[in-house]
């Protein structure tokens, strides 16, 4: 009997008129938890009733507390007929179960009805008294904190990162039960909402149990998704990263606790006595205000210290081995590290086998093996999917570092680093290898956590859904995911990595076909985080142990150069000159804050539509899985081209979504392109004609080439990519070319590589004299696009039609924009949805592509237009979701945040800065100082002194390490011709191994942002507060893990809400647009209300996981489901010494004024 839930209904306002005769309402409230229901008195004839009820008390198991929501129903009393429901409020009481989160829920909640939307508001007070439960076998996991944030939450420190946790729960979908035929839409919707709420409660509880088992106290990067599988049921699944978090005891943190629980602080050790305000501090000791940092894993139930490398069996139920009947078709896998097309097919037989033994073992249905089994695709297709398979499983087993240091580069650091690192790695490896899945859902890491990044690993699988017969044993679904995860794991291994970071899973369902996808970034992690007793890892001093400077270390390849099963172009790192880096790096994570970047980043999207025949069952699944590899290939080609076009060399936050519809597949890849200073400059793009004899054709090609060159030059300017001022000096050093020439070179991208290749000919083993434009593929300087058919022309056009972002705007899909550091406090989160109807029945792939691309581009354009008042601003975390809700419909939903920044300071790149506020934009100008980037900022400055120390002599040895890949290129081109596809080749001649170390100057300038900005805040937000009696707390929302200009002082718990809205009067509500507009606004308002009731003033890591719209305009009906999540927090302005607002905000009734600093 471990809990008492208390609820009090205070008042209502703005109720709808339920009695037409009197224009008033006789309202009363039912409060329900589990099977217990209480009622208030009827408040007659009022639209603003005051119930002021007694405390309704529910005595319940904490298991139920975790699973069930508190259900508040407002009804209109009717003497003669049945009482009419006005609406409901579901209150998730989970945040009250954790001592560190909220202590009371109190505030105005919108009363929500699935048919009418929001109908007034109700003021509710909820408290929980938890009794301590020492039962070892308990089913609840109260006290485990959940965070959607995919980084270590701002006011915590990771004492230990335990690893991957996952769970899934299945049930029948109420919408498809027989009873649905006789009940009202409202009843059906509410049943569904309630069920999902219950299921996610259960899911969270189960995950919590696993975390406790592993010895953790929190789940970070918690990602919960619904699969509405229709007839076959409803799946709720979640993944996350189990951690042991310590509340930071220094600086801001103590305030939080002291003011939050003033009375619990003295009794901090008394775990067993319920605290006074009705809450059991399960982690009582954590409430100490500023004392010694008390390690935070002293759970009563679990042993306090898990073994250093806890072989955390992450969570999968003991699912039987994969259900092969269902796995019809190949999972296809993305290339691990996508190189230009050339690497797609270096198919030397030895490599094949190598790959399979390495990567293919775990993956049941990967293209290669399944081809003979499931279907027999035509030969070219086979070849292709093979190549894709190959790409994906490019496997490297060994550590490059060994090779590098063995090569005797001569640097003292290198020599020491090598062995040390190996040792380090071995430790980690063993630690991680013991885990079933060494996956981390985190996308940003504490400094030093990430040692090396290998590249993107991903896996997809097409499955046929069938009815889930026994909801208590969701084995099939578990097995499906297990398969995919195994595959991911083996891909990572193939890349020489022992872990996968930035990991996520998703599904796309159409009728009975389901595509399961998982993706992440293979990486090597610092073992200290997996070990016990390294609590102070985040602290900067320890970073000196790092063998490679943080500004480039993560770029260094983790695999062995000599054993690369596919040809990669490795060069010595342009920053430290010691270790090898790839020429292009793709990842799913955020750009590490310490990374050295040149210029600014930008959003890069690849979009693709593929028609497919309508089919049923297995035939359909086969068709889809045959298409997948082609789509991945195309998407990657597009990404690569666009990356080159922007003169960048790496992608962060890569997210590839493939969505299935009845007659088409949609693919959308989004990422943020960045020029990593450590990586070599990308070559240009060369256009080559198939038939050199044709004059007109040649002319055409020249025109296109010119346009491409112009675009590249323009982009360089736009994104301020002019790094290599210092690199450009190289030719001078080597060949005595004077400065003017190099200046020119910087401006014109195409001549540049050519020139270089001439200059460096001696270093490269290329046999070609490169001086003409009509380069045939196989030569290896720039990226060659060959125009041999209309497709290719189309592609090039689409490449060039991407509209540049208007001046004053930047956009990215990562947390923050690389290259922008001085955020001001203007924040505008938004959600936008568009649905496009294709009326033309016989569309071609090309036509579809164009439509889809335009749709995305126009969407972006309209964002820029709408947000023009915020200029200069950056759209961050642009998260696109595509779907094919019906035949001939394309739906694109976007959630993002626009953040203002201070332009003056961006341009000025001197280290001593910033003039106090030139002041131009919004009224709330707060400076964003880098403190927001948490503990990393101080660390960032360190590499600076190191860099000058690098001996120039490294140049010599680095040149020696150069490898020629010409032969690969040649083979590739043959293969491509075979496939009649465009050739994408890289010319290898210009490997820029002989860059000098002068890059240090540049890296200094890009690191300079770390210098903490003094605060020049000019105006206070509070000017707004005086507005007449407004009593609504301003709640800011952002998909990022922070709000610029503010400091998060407390996490109040996770927000995870699911709503259904339905209408039978679509026209009257303004059509689908009006309907959805209202619904989204309602969802926002309900999220804000819940956060405010918890005492918070912001939601971070907000995301809309699902937005499923079904319409039937003919019947004047529509239905929409939305699922949102995020972390409720209290934040204060950065400079506020005391978190005063929260004190006033917590525990009072809702009336906290608008002066909440936000």
């Amino acid at each position: 009997m471990p809990g008492k839930l208390k609820a009090k209904i205070v008042a209502g306002r703005h109720l709808p008129v339920m009695d037409r005769a009197s224009d008033l309402t006789d309202a009363f409230v039912e409060v329900k938890f589990g099977n217990t229901t209480f009622k208030t008195d009827v408040c007659h004839k009022s639209l603003n009733p005051q119930w002021n009820s007694e405390w309704f008390k529910f005595e319940v198991d904490d298991e139920d507390l975790q699973d069930e929501p508190l259900q508040v129903t407002v009804l209109d009393h009717d003497t003669y007929s049945a009482n009419d429901a006005i609406g409901k409020v579901y209150i998730d009481i989970d945040p009250l179960l954790c001592s560190e989160a909220a202590s009371v829920i109190s505030g105005w909640f919108p009363i929500y009805d699935t048919i009418h939307g929001i109908r007034g508001e109700i003021n509710v007070l909820v408290k929980v008294e938890l009794f301590n439960d020492l039962n070892r076998f308990r089913q609840s996991s109260c006290g485990v904190k959940f965070f959607c944030t995919t980084s270590i939450p701002r006011c915590y420190r990771a004492a230990m990162v335990h690893g991957f946790v996952e769970e899934l729960v299945v049930n029948e979908d109420p919408e498809y039960q027989w009873i649905d035929r006789i009940r009202t839409p409202r009843a059906s919707n509410e049943a569904r909402q309630r069920l999902i709420s219950l299921m996610s409660g259960e899911l969270q509880r189960k995950i919590g149990l696993k975390v406790l088992e592993m010895g953790g106290n929190a789940v970070v990067g918690y990602l919960q998704c619904f699969d509405l599988e229709g007839e076959s049921g409803l799946v709720v699944r979640a993944i996350g990263t189990a951690c042991t978090l310590d509340k930071l005891s220094s600086g801001s943190a103590p305030n939080t606790n002291t003011h939050m629980h003033p009375n619990t602080a003295p009794t901090s050790n008394a775990c067993n006595s319920p605290s006074k305000d009705g809450k059991e501090p399960v982690f009582g000791e954590d409430l100490t205000s500023s004392g010694p940092p008390t390690p935070f894993r002293a759970l009563p139930t679990t042993s306090s210290s898990p073994p250093p490398f806890s072989p955390s069996k992450p969570c999968s139920r003991q699912s039987s081995s994969s259900d092969t009947d269902l796995s019809l078709t190949p999972k296809t896998v993305e290339p691990v590290r996508r190189r230009p097309g050339i690497f797609l097919c270096p198919s030397s037989p030895t490599l094949y086998t190598d790959t399979l033994s390495l990567a293919g073992s775990g993956s049941v249905g990967c293209g290669h093996t399944s081809a003979p089994r499931a279907t027999t695709p035509p030969p070219p297709a086979t070849a292709h999917s093979d190549s894709v398979l190959l790409r994906k499983s490019v496997s490297f087993t060994e550590d490059l570092l060994l090779a590098a240091s063995g090569m005797g580069s001569g640097g003292s650091v290198g020599k020491e680093a090598g062995p040390l690192k190996t040792l380090l790695r071995q430790q980690t490896q063993t630690a991680l290898e013991q885990r079933e899945f060494p996956f981390f859902t985190l996308a940003s890491f504490p400094p030093g956590f990430l040692v090396h990044v290998g590249g993107v690993v991903s896996a997809r699988s097409v499955k046929l859904l069938d009815r889930i017969h026994n909801p208590d044993e969701p084995e099939t679904r578990d097995a499906w995911w297990e398969e995919i995860r195994q595959e991911i794991k083996s891909h990572a291994k193939a890349l020489g990595c022992h872990a996968v970071v930035g990991y996520s899973e998703s599904t796309s369902i159409c009728e009975e076909v389901c595509i399961l996808s998982a993706a992440g970034t293979a990486a090597i992690l610092n073992p200290r985080y997996m070990r016990e007793g390294c609590l102070d890892i985040g602290i900067a001093d320890h970073r000196f142990e790092e063998p490679s400077p943080p500004s480039c270390g993560f770029c260094h390849v983790p695999y062995d150069e000599l054993n690369m099963p596919f040809p990669a172009q490795l060069t010595y790192c342009y920053i430290c000159r010691r270790q090898k880096v790839p020429d292009v790096l793709f990842t799913t994570i955020n750009l590490p804050p310490e990374a050295a970047v040149t210029g600014k980043g930008c959003l890069i999207q690849a979009r693709l539509c593929r028609l497919k025949k309508k089919a049923q069952g297995e035939v359909n699944a086969t068709a889809i899985s045959n298409l997948l590899p082609f789509m991945e290939y195309e998407l990657h080609t597009q990404l690569m081209n666009k990356l080159k076009l922007r003169s960048m060399n790496s992608l962060f936050g890569l997210h590839i979504q493939i969505s299935v519809g009845e007659n088409m597949l949609l693919g959308l890849a989004s990422a943020t392109g960045v020029y990593l200073t450590a990586l070599p400059a990308p070559g240009g793009i060369q256009i080559a004609g198939k038939t050199p004899g044709d004059l007109s054709n040649e002319h055409h090609i020249l025109t296109i080439q010119k346009r491409i060159n112009d675009t590249i030059a323009k982009n360089k300017e736009l994104y301020q990519i002019n790094p290599p001022k210092l690199f450009a000096l190289d030719p001078e050093v080597f060949c005595g070319i004077n400065m003017e020439l190099t200046e020119e070179v910087v401006g014109s991208p195409i001549p540049e590589p050519r020139q270089r290749s001439r200059l460096f000919r001696s270093h490269s083993e290329s046999s070609d004299e490169v001086s003409e434009l009509d380069l045939s593929h196989g030569k290896k300087d720039a990226f060659v696009l060959e125009i041999d058919d209309t497709d290719a022309v189309e592609d090039i056009h689409s490449l060039l039609t991407d509209a540049p972002t208007p001046t004053g705007f930047y956009s990215c899909n990562t947390e923050i924009m690389p290259g922008i550091h001085n955020w001001t406090s203007g924040v505008q989160m938004f959600t936008s949805v568009r649905v496009f109807r294709l009326s033309n029945a016989n569309l071609t792939n090309q036509g579809l592509n164009k439509i889809f691309t335009d749709l995305c581009e126009n969407l972006l354009k309209s964002f820029y237009f709408k947000l023009r008042s915020m200029i200069p601003c950056c759209l961050c975390q642009l998260n696109f979701t595509v779907a094919v809700p019906e035949e001939e419909l394309i739906q694109v939903a976007v959630t993002a945040v626009a953040m203002t920044f201070d332009k003056d300071q961006t341009q000025e790149k001197t280290a001593d800065k910033p003039p106090t506020k030139g002041g131009s934009e919004t009224e709330e100008q707060l400076q964003f100082s880098m403190e927001l980037c948490a503990d990393s900022s101080s660390a960032n400055c360190q590499p600076t002194p190191k860099i000058p120390g690098f001996p120039e002599s490294t140049n010599v040895s680095s040149r020696a390490a150069f490898v020629d890949y010409g032969s690969f290129a040649d083979r590739c081109s043959t293969w491509l011709e075979l496939l009649r596809l465009k050739a994408h080749t890289i010319r290898r001649g210009s490997v820029k191994t002989s860059r000098r170390t002068q890059s240090l100057a540049h890296s200094v300038s890009s690191l300079e942002r770390c210098s903490p900005l003094p605060d020049g805040r000019s105006r206070s937000l509070r000017s707004d507060r005086s507005f007449r009696g407004s009593s609504v707390t301003v709640v800011k929302m952002t998909p990022l893990s922070f709000l610029p200009g503010t400091r998060i002082i407390k996490y109040l718990g996770i927000i995870n809400m699911f709503f259904i809205r339905e209408t039978t009067s679509l026209r009257e509500e303004g059509g689908v647009s009006g309907f959805l507009h209202t619904f989204i606004a309602e969802v926002f308002s309900m999220v804000r209300a819940h956060v405010a009731a918890l005492g918070g003033n912001a939601v971070v890591s907000y995301s809309m996981k699902e937005c499923m719209l079904m319409e039937n305009p003919n019947k004047n009906q529509a239905q929409c489901l939305i699922n949102v999540s995020g972390d409720a927090v209290i934040c204060v302005r950065e400079t506020d010494p005391e978190p005063t607002p929260s004190t006033t905000n917590i525990g009072q009734t809702c009336a906290s004024a608008t002066d909440e600093p936000t």
Binding site: R13, H14, W108, P110, I118, E121, P806, T807, Q828, M829, F830, T831, S832, V833, R834, V835, F836, R837, L838, S839, N858, K861, S862, F863, Y864, F865, K866, L867, R868, L889, D1024, S1026, F1027, R1028, G1029, S1030, S1031, V1032, V1034, V1035, K1036, M1037, G1070, G1071, V1072, S1073, G1074, L1076, H1077, T1078, I1080, A1081, E1082, F1084, S1085, M1086, R1088, L1109, E1111, T1154
Partner: protein, 357 residues
């Protein structure tokens, strides 16, 4: 190939003031797009017409959703659906309740009934205000009227607090309510030259001096209804014109004071009795509701027009009325000084306002 759905929702509701104005002015989406295009917003932001259309539609949707809240502005402050910064809320409300002077001039003093509403299209055609905008303005008048009708306390204050309007706008609404309640005739041709602001000023004078509220500030309708007792007492002023001695005495006092001070002295002297009779008769008749309605037309016919035909300047009027008012105090047989001042104070300032050179 059509856009089936297009939605943009910000956590902080995004509203463009320019589009808001277009919406208030009753432009259709397409017309609004045209106006915006002409305004050059496209070149400013490198956008296309599609973008503009989508943005405009979106904003219109938002405004339509907000309109319900704007009907009771106090709700806007504590509703949860839209997160709008307070200064934006104030802007939304103020603009929503702002009206066209041309339109209000047509409706002023008319009964705010369905009948009048039916005529709105005519008024719209006449004033160049779109029907949609007319309806909004008319409904605003009606809504304010209905709410303050049942409230105690000062009219302007009630409007200001209830509708969260600026002081200036609240006063204008008070005037509209006051005129609608007393049904003052303002539409006659002779009154056409007067602007809404002229009437609003007069209404302010009447409200603060002649209503029940001027003496007692806790009655219902205190600022809307004229003080009946006072109107009765006005009858006593008749003595000023019925008593021959008094009239002559009054005239000579005024003429003595005016002599040599104005070019229009001769006309003043000649017209004194006429003008005085006019003003006192207006006062005496105010007990009849019908005559109350004609108050302004009477002022024009009985006083302003004669003066104007004699080419008095505004200064002349000022001079004359001041002395006319003050001289009555010196009349020893005249006992109704308080009523006289209360009456003349208002009449004086109304005439000053209404007398355009």
């Amino acid at each position: 190939m059509t856009m089936e759905l297009d939605v943009f929702v910000g956590n902080t509701t995004i509203m463009d003031e320019e589009v808001y104005q277009l919406w208030l002015d009753g432009y259709t989406v397409n017309d609004a797009v045209k106006v915006r295009m002409d305004g050059g917003v496209l070149e400013e932001c490198e956008a296309s017409a599609d973008v503009l259309l989508s943005d405009t539609m979106d904003q219109y949707k938002t405004f339509q959703m907000c309109e319900r809240l704007l009907h009771s502005p106090s709700k806007l402050g504590n509703q949860l659906l839209f997160q709008i910064p307070p200064h934006r809320q104030a802007m939304l409300i103020e603009r929503y309740y702002t009206f066209d002077d041309a339109f209000v001039r047509e409706v002023l003093g008319k009964k705010l009934s369905k009948g009048t509403k039916k005529d709105l299209d005519d008024i719209g055609a006449k004033t160049g205000v779109t029907l949609k905008s007319c309806r909004r303005q008319f409904d605003n008048f009606k809504r304010v009227f209905k709410v303050v009708e049942e409230l105690k306390g000062p009219l302007v204050e009630n409007i200001r607090l209830h509708f969260l309007l600026s002081d200036k706008l609240a006063r204008d609404y008070a005037a509209i309510v006051f005129f609608a309640n007393n049904r003052f005739e303002t539409g006659k041709r002779k009154l056409q030259y007067l602007t809404f602001q002229d009437f609003a000023f007069c209404a302010g004078q009447l409200i603060s001096n002649w209503t029940v509220g001027a003496v007692d500030n806790m009655v219902e309708d205190m600022d809307v209804d004229l003080d009946k007792e006072f109107l009765q007492e006005l009858k006593e002023l008749k003595v000023l014109i019925t008593d021959k001695d008094l009239l002559d005495q009054h005239k000579s006092l005024v003429c003595t004071a005016l002599r040599g001070k104005t070019k229009a002295f001769n006309e003043m002297e000649a017209n004194f009795k006429n003008l005085s009779r006019g003003l006192v008769n207006i006062a005496a008749k105010l007990t009849n509701t019908k005559d109350v309605r004609d108050f302004f037309i009477d002022l024009v016919e009985k006083f302003i027009e004669p003066c104007r035909s004699d080419r008095w300047t505004a200064a002349d009027i000022r001079l004359y009325l001041t002395h006319y008012n003050n001289s009555a105090h010196i009349l020893d047989t005249f006992k109704h000084q308080v009523v006289w001042d209360r009456y003349m104070g208002v009449v004086k300032s109304c005439i000053f306002k209404m007398y355009h050179d």
